[in-house]
Symmetry: C2
Subunit: 249 residues, 2 copies
DNA sequence: CAGTGGTCTAGACCACGAA
DNA sequence: TCGTGGTCTAGACCACTGC
């Protein structure tokens, strides 16, 4: 492959071969509507088809395996794993919403968007000082017109330098990666049971002190810096979290 | 390294270099009590120290990264990520219990251990026929003498050919991998909110219809065959699920 | 025992971060 | 600019599955 094709103008956006191959394999699965247990082409055929070395295919497959898309059986073949379950919130592709509910009508209402000083909890979660500026955002998210979750999030202003109502109504993460050109590295997530206060109960059309699922997340940039802490309450009757694990050793 | 050292007698258990290296790096982190953000030695030093090729080190590091132990920053270094949180159930190392609560006194009470025929739900989850034999197990698990969760599980008898009370009181997964020599490949997990029935409420010392966290899991062997479906109810006041995500792309 | 996937290496070259 | 990590390759050899 000619090197210049793998860069985009002056931006020098390098396309990784193994990412390209991984994308194409996923595309192949989608187009051929493969289900759990269906077999993919053998390695040798893939090296020929994609015109890359065996190692590169294997790297692409390892990535797809770690993302829960496929599983590899030595001596036998490479097989498709069950797809994301529709309507479940996928905790491991934790970039909100659009990904989880692709077939639904989604929108958000912004209840708060302001610059604040962090209290003790936020200082600790975001690893900031009391005098640092923080964007505080509170949103209700709707699925098919019905309230689905209530999200509060705190962004380091030194990283996410600017936010406005329109950005916040749409996808903050999309804005962060596309407009600010930051790349999100990893996240720590905690799921627990919580209860609704009066205001939240009204939003969900239920009763104060009702149980709900709480997801607390800390997001890091690629260099390890924390930039976002968020707390999301999900209504109990609509929410299922989905995950896939490979880590047996 | 001499090849024969890497096999154990006649069993031909091959030790993978990159798994060995990964283990040693984790050990290094533990011994030196490294915290989030602490730097590991540079790649070149590790290749020398472990006497393996650069690719092998990188593979080991990729594994540790996917397991949430470290993060790698190009041009800068390799850094330790926050450790498992004590007392949180780690959903991605979902092998029960002993791993999640290493510093606690754990035990189990077996309420049921019998061979049954699957109902519709179990037929679907385990992908078995109505006439297939299934081990049904119900256990209460205690942490420091206090009931922590109630687990029901269904094992394909064609895979897990034998179980007894002692095995079930201890670790079934341990038995499966060590004694039956089966290797667990991957799992699908769903977390949702559920309520307690009268019996369960009594076990937890709380009220019927109280909310609880429900974890439903489907476990697969390395070849993709389902062998276990389980439903675990966790008491709401004691339970936090923890996960780490890398999948931002 | 053929077919298929996995491990490991040496080495060339590239990309990012910090100073 | 240099230190550090990342991509990619060709190829030798190994290991598991199923016929």
């Amino acid at each position: 492959m000619i090197k210049s094709i793998r860069k985009r103008y002056q931006e020098v956006i390098v396309i990784l071969k193994y990412e390209e191959v991984a994308k194409k394999i996923q595309e192949y699965i989608r187009i051929n509507d493969l289900k759990q247990g269906d077999k993919l082409p053998i390695l040798d055929d893939m090296t020929r088809q994609f015109d890359v070395s065996k190692s590169t295919i294997i790297k692409a497959l390892d990535i797809l395996e770690s993302r829960g898309k496929i599983f590899q059986v030595r001596g036998s073949g490479i097989f498709v794993r069950r797809h994301r379950r529709d309507g479940h919130v996928n905790l491991l592709e934790a970039q909100g919403f659009k990904n989880d509910m692709p077939h639904y009508d989604l929108h958000s209402t912004v209840l708060a968007l302001e610059v604040v000083k962090p209290d003790k909890k936020i200082q600790e979660q975001l690893q900031v000082k009391p005098e640092d500026d923080i964007y505080y955002i509170k949103r209700i998210r709707y699925v098919d017109g019905e309230s689905f979750c209530i999200e509060q999030s705190w962004y380091k202003k030194s990283v996410v330098t600017y936010l406005n109502e329109q950005i916040v109504e749409e996808s903050i993460f999309n804005y962060i990666s596309k407009a600010l050109n930051l790349s999100i590295g990893f996240a720590d997530l905690v799921v627990e049971l919580d209860v609704l206060n009066k205001e939240e109960a009204d939003i969900f059309g239920t009763h104060e002190h009702d149980a709900c699922l709480m997801l607390k997340s800390i997001y890091h940039l690629h260099n390890g810096e924390v930039f976002d802490y968020s707390e999301i309450k999900y209504r109990k009757d609509k929410t299922k979290f989905f995950m896939q694990s490979n880590n047996f050793y």
